[in-house]
């Protein structure tokens, strides 16, 4: 590291010929980035200390089960009965995803009207809708599902609503930002010539943002597939549920059949969404949207969803008693100590999982584009699809076999899942990067490693770091997913309170989750500005 003193003394002799002004300029320019680097290092060291690093991590005793799981890869269950079961579970997961994302888009569109400056201005309405939407966004789908189960039982509506509520909130935010960032001149011109807000919006704003909205909607659908799979784990059915059952009964062959189905479903949705987002053909987009519209009634029919159960007498009475018992929020039986400790575990888990996922994701993304070998590239991409198609709690279950209980199984489970997500994003970023600086360095004889440090890394690093920070915000929320399977943190605490039917303590812990999510969002936003 170069000198960080600011007393104007000549810097250390090992840097020859440097002048005082240039070293000062270096310091000024580096400050924000350097601070970010120091903060990141400190966070990692703290995370490791919190998680504990000693010989009590690896559980060698579980190695035989762990390796049996991987060996079953070549021996998946292909019996007719099980294939039919897998098919049914796949369709169930798909129907949850379709209905959940459609409902989230409806909610998002309505919410966006309240959030957009075009409609709401920046008055009281805007402020209150904004404040209100923070809460559903901060709580992960799986927590929504756990809460909804208390009122609705194991109804398929639980899965659909658990997806639609948080997704609807984030869609509202994104749609509103899209409206507000669009060129406002056409809108104002129409308003000036007497059109009302809705007319001016429909003719002046919507045409120019339609592509963005459609592309985001498909991205959401892609995420909904993964969420629908995770939700199964808590018992609402579908592939996640079957995976959980097969895991608990140690039928590894079945697991691989289910994983294959998940990969096909996830991969198919991603391929479709990528095509729609990159395609310029209106026709292809329309055909895909048409297909999805057909899927809506089919999904309703398949999942047997009946919205009337939302206002059935049973639901109303359960909701009332749930409402009475959840307010006012309070601490659990072990008081502040437990809540604070679980919160700290949650933060540590998110930091470690993000760092691990980003490092591995970058390594795989770089390997997947290495010179020529398309087979290697294909295998790595398949591997990335595998890691993100399988829900994080399933990975956590797997790693519990070889890691002693604590937060490490949760960290590794979350990291493995997010390697797939980040690896794909990183690979896209690197593919889209300007390759001229790298090519120019190659032409004057730079080695691949040198080209990486002087060409590719500087041009892509800000984007890669920003993606990692965005992902950190998601991972903080996802820690509860591995928490509910026993990996510690707030998720585990909430699950314990739920099991004890201590709903007021559940609300207390949820409050802590919202506060943590908001604080870390703000931290991540600050870090991202430092990158610019």
């Amino acid at each position: 590291m170069a000198s960080t003193t600011n007393d104007g003394l000549p810097p250390q002799p090992s840097v020859p010929l440097v002048t005082a002004t240039s070293s000062q300029a270096a310091q000024l320019g580096w400050t924000s980035r350097r601070r970010l680097a120091v903060a990141t290092t400190a966070a990692l060291i703290w995370g490791f200390t919190r998680a504990g690093v000693d010989n009590q991590i690896l559980n060698v005793g579980g190695w035989s089960s762990f390796s049996r799981f991987w060996r079953a890869l070549v021996n998946p269950e292909l019996a007719g009965d099980f294939l039919r079961l897998t098919w049914d579970a796949t369709v169930t997961t798909l129907s949850f995803a379709v209905l959940g994302s459609v409902l989230s888009l409806l909610l998002g569109a309505i919410g966006a009207v309240g959030l957009s400056e075009l409609f709401a201005g920046r008055g009281m309405l805007w402020r209150s809708v904004r404040a209100l939407l923070v809460i559903p966004r901060a709580i992960h789908e799986i927590l929504w599902a756990l809460l909804l189960v208390q009122v609705l039982g194991f109804d398929p509506l639980v899965a659909v609503l658990a997806i639609a509520i948080p997704f609807g909130a984030v869609t509202a935010k994104v749609f509103a930002e899209t409206f507000d960032e669009a060129d406002r001149a056409p809108f104002l011109a129409l308003r000036a010539s007497g059109a009302n807000r809705v007319q001016a919006f429909a003719y002046g704003v919507l045409p120019s943002v339609r592509g963005d909205l459609v592309s985001y909607a498909f991205y959401r659908f892609e995420c909904a597939i993964r969420s629908a799979a995770v939700l199964g784990v808590i018992g609402v059915g579908g592939l996640g549920f079957q995976l959980d059952l097969s895991f608990e009964t140690l039928r590894y062959g079945e697991i691989w059949t289910l994983i294959a189905a998940l990969m096909l479903l996830s991969g198919g949705a991603e391929a479709m969404s990528t095509r729609v987002r990159s395609s310029r053909s209106r026709l292809a987009t329309k055909a895909t949207i048409g297909l999805l519209l057909v899927l809506i009634p089919l999904s309703v029919n398949w999942s047997g969803i009946d919205p009337r159960s939302l206002w059935s007498a049973r639901t109303v009475s359960l909701a009332r008693s749930f409402g009475n018992r959840i307010f006012p929020p309070r601490l659990g039986p072990d008081g502040w100590g437990e809540l604070v400790s679980a919160s700290i575990d949650t933060i540590a888990m998110s930091v470690l999982a993000t760092a691990l996922a980003a490092t591995m994701g970058l390594a795989l993304a770089l390997l997947s584009r290495g010179s020529g070998s398309s087979l290697r590239s294909f295998l790595i991409r398949l591997c990335l699809l595998l890691t993100r198609a399988v829900p994080a709690p399933i990975w956590a279950f797997l790693f519990v076999l070889i890691l002693f209980p604590g937060i490490w199984p949760g960290v590794v489970g979350l990291a493995v899942y997010n390697i797939g997500v980040l690896g794909r994003l990183f690979a896209e970023t690197i593919d889209e990067a300007d390759d001229r600086p790298t090519a120019a360095l190659a032409a004057i004889g730079a080695t691949p490693t040198q080209r990486f440090f002087y060409g590719l890394l500087p041009t892509t690093a800000p984007r890669l770091l920003a993606l990692s920070l965005y992902r950190w915000e998601v991972i903080v929320r996802e820690t509860v997913v591995v928490g509910v399977v026993g990996a510690g943190g707030l998720g585990q605490l909430i699950n314990e309170h739920l099991a004890a039917r201590d709903f007021a303590a559940v609300l207390g812990a949820l409050g802590a989750m919202v506060v943590i999510a908001l604080c870390l969002d703000a931290l991540s936003a600050t870090a991202r500005t430092a990158l610019r």
């Binding site: 590291m1 002004t21 300029a25 320019g29 190659a442 041009t459």
Partner: protein, 243 residues
């Protein structure tokens, strides 16, 4: 004895799909000679430079740079040859988020180990970089981020990188395209100073003529004339563009 050749093209053709960028071009540039390529945009100047640098695949003929066919060499040997060739590309090819000093020092990558390159990012030697930046008038921007620089300043950084490299052959594609005329004159003088051979495509042939030894005019992928700079005047050049 004939002097060794810095560049030799024999019947070189370059094809981009159905477009012929170079059509059976043969030229020889002796070591140390300064040559300007003139011709309207799309004539094939950039393709010729990129063919010499080994950045495009040639569809026929052979290219020798500093006596070697780079495309035929093993990576290690090719690297040693490439380290002796300096490049200033039209798009500049600088890593914009890097500081100026690192982009200038990158000129030495061909001679550095990977570790040395990495170490220099953390603790760069500033002396040599400062010296060449002073020559292009950018000494005070040593620590600036390259994306904070204007187009003309970036071009001077690219020139500084090549000056630091001290190559035997410089390939420059419109290196003075976005600087003012006075500065362009200085830059051109700078590029022509030294023992290296120079192949430069020029958007301003009158300017180039004052500094180089020889002019090669290219039209539709073929060389249409090849003269000593002293044998032609600005009027002849204008006549060429009018055709």
């Amino acid at each position: 004895m004939t002097p060794p050749l810095a560049v030799e093209l024999r019947e070189v053709s370059v094809q981009f799909g159905s477009i012929t960028a170079l059509n059976a071009v043969s030229i020889q540039v002796p070591a140390g000679q300064k040559v300007a390529l003139v011709g309207s945009s799309g004539a094939g100047k950039s393709s010729l430079l990129r063919a010499v640098a080994g950045q495009v695949e040639i569809s026929a003929g052979s290219v020798h740079a500093l006596g070697e066919q780079i495309a035929e060499l093993r990576p290690r040997t090719a690297r040693a040859v490439r380290a002796r060739i300096g490049l200033i590309a039209q798009s500049l090819d600088l890593a914009l988020p890097l500081r100026v000093i690192h982009n200038v020092n990158a000129g030495q990558l061909g001679c550095w180990s990977s570790f040395g390159a990495f170490r220099s990012l953390v603790r760069p030697a500033t002396g040599p970089a400062e010296q060449v930046l002073e020559q292009v008038g950018l000494k005070d921007r040593l620590w600036a981020r390259t994306d904070e620089l204007s187009g003309g300043e970036r071009q001077r950084v690219a020139i500084a990188r090549v000056l630091l490299q001290v190559p035997e052959l410089i390939l420059a594609d419109e290196p003075t395209a976005s600087v003012d005329p006075k500065l362009a004159d200085d830059m051109m003088a700078l590029l022509c100073r030294g023992d290296h051979a120079l192949l430069v495509s020029a958007h301003n042939p009158q300017l180039a003529r004052r500094h180089v030894d020889r002019l090669l005019a290219i039209r539709n992928g073929t060389v249409v004339f090849d003269v000593a700079a002293s044998d032609i005047d600005d009027g002849d050049l204008l006549g060429f563009y009018d055709q």
